[in-house]
Symmetry: C3
Subunit: 176 residues, 3 copies
């Protein structure tokens, strides 16, 4: 496959190198490079993480914050065909879980899948694998984990390429 086939879902554990890999793919395409940040900066730890990520990316990037209405933003950005990196879906799922009820969350994910099917811009999406530990002992964490697993499946199905990153090494899952 061409490594530039999109939409492209890049999955991996925490600090697996998935964002770095996704950024390198985007930067191999001509600018402008649009970075859609789903993080809501609620504390110092998160602020520090965001600054580290921004420092790593360079001046060719434009950052747009989007905690909730991702499908709407992607449709709007797609009026100018140029690469878009969404980093990351798992924080977006978190924001959805804290703001909406289950039906509305699933509708948001379905809307993003619709955009993935129709977008002209190269779309890259980063997401975490969160389901390979022990069953969490609180109900909200279990709900979140189930939702993230379900949503990752839906997004993977709507993407033409899926890559799993382990210790910085990209493993292509789709196409194989």
């Amino acid at each position: 496959m061409s490594r530039l086939e999109t939409p492209h879902l890049i999955l991996g554990g925490a600090r697996s190198g998935k964002s770095t890999y996704a950024e390198a793919l985007v930067m191999s395409m001509p600018p402008p490079h649009r970075y859609v940040a789903t993080a809501q900066i609620l504390d110092d730890e998160m602020a520090r993480r965001v600054r580290e990520h921004q420092k790593r990316r360079g001046a060719t990037w434009r950052t747009i914050e989007c905690p909730i209405h991702l499908a709407d933003l992607l449709r709007q950005l797609d009026s100018e065909p140029a690469p878009i990196l969404v980093d990351c879906l798992t924080l977006w799922y978190s924001n959805l879980v804290l703001s909406l009820e289950e039906g509305a969350i699933r509708a948001q994910v379905a809307s993003v899948c619709d955009v993935l099917h129709s977008a002209r811009s190269p779309l890259l999406l980063v997401s975490n694998e969160v389901g390979c530990g022990i069953v969490p002992d609180n109900a909200l964490a279990r709900f979140y984990r189930d939702l993230a697993g379900w949503a990752n499946q839906r997004i993977a199905q709507a993407c033409r390429a899926v890559t799993y990153v382990i210790a910085g090494i990209p493993v292509p899952l789709k196409p194989r």
Copy 2:
């Protein structure tokens, strides 16, 4: 490999699509389709999960509940050669941990491996990867995690096919 080679262990994280994949493999074979449910319905959340799974499967399925004595049940079902899906081993490991001491648990797992070596019926088994998070801070969870890892290794060794499912995408591990 033939995707119908069995016994077949289907591994994956929570909501990775492993059950859906296993059910599709079973349904590509002629009925009857036997579903061995290891879940013990102890609360509403579990009851809801079981109902969702049953709804997804169709009328060709017969469900047999089996929280503990899995090897005995599989031997009995094998008198009629037809596909059997065990979903899931991780809940079975949980039930064993809550009911038996370590030696007896390991003997139960060894008995299931014996059945895997001798069964005439196509056997498919679903299990979770639970060892890729942070070390749990309570001793029972660590004991469970170690046991699940050890048992998954034993079952994988006794199976002719092993598949890892990530975000709905099956990755064949054995044979490769």
Copy 3:
């Protein structure tokens, strides 16, 4: 690739069979076999785990304990060219987190990477994937998880071979 290409990082979840696989690779080489144990025996549970591991290995092995100064020890052992197994890096990361501050930890990891680039002895290193569960709810666990992910990436980059072990099945990641 030759399965004996080194340095070789062997990654996997808890009880995935990664140590057993690494030990088998070392034992396919001529003795002496040096085992670098990073575990600090602080309680009975840890003592039991260490005894189990020692029982599995045979008389050809020499065990050296090394909770912190891993690069120094590896340089010293490398004066005699013979295989060295480090088991495991994740416990070493734990020891570093409990003893040093962030800059000094990163310097220790960088020193080990330097040794990996220059060593004449076959070096095998075992490490855990710890980043594929739910985000931990305490800050130290999150710091540890981020550090382990970052360090595994660095070590993987410095190694000529990387293997991921799932349910006892080795999956080569590098070279592919």
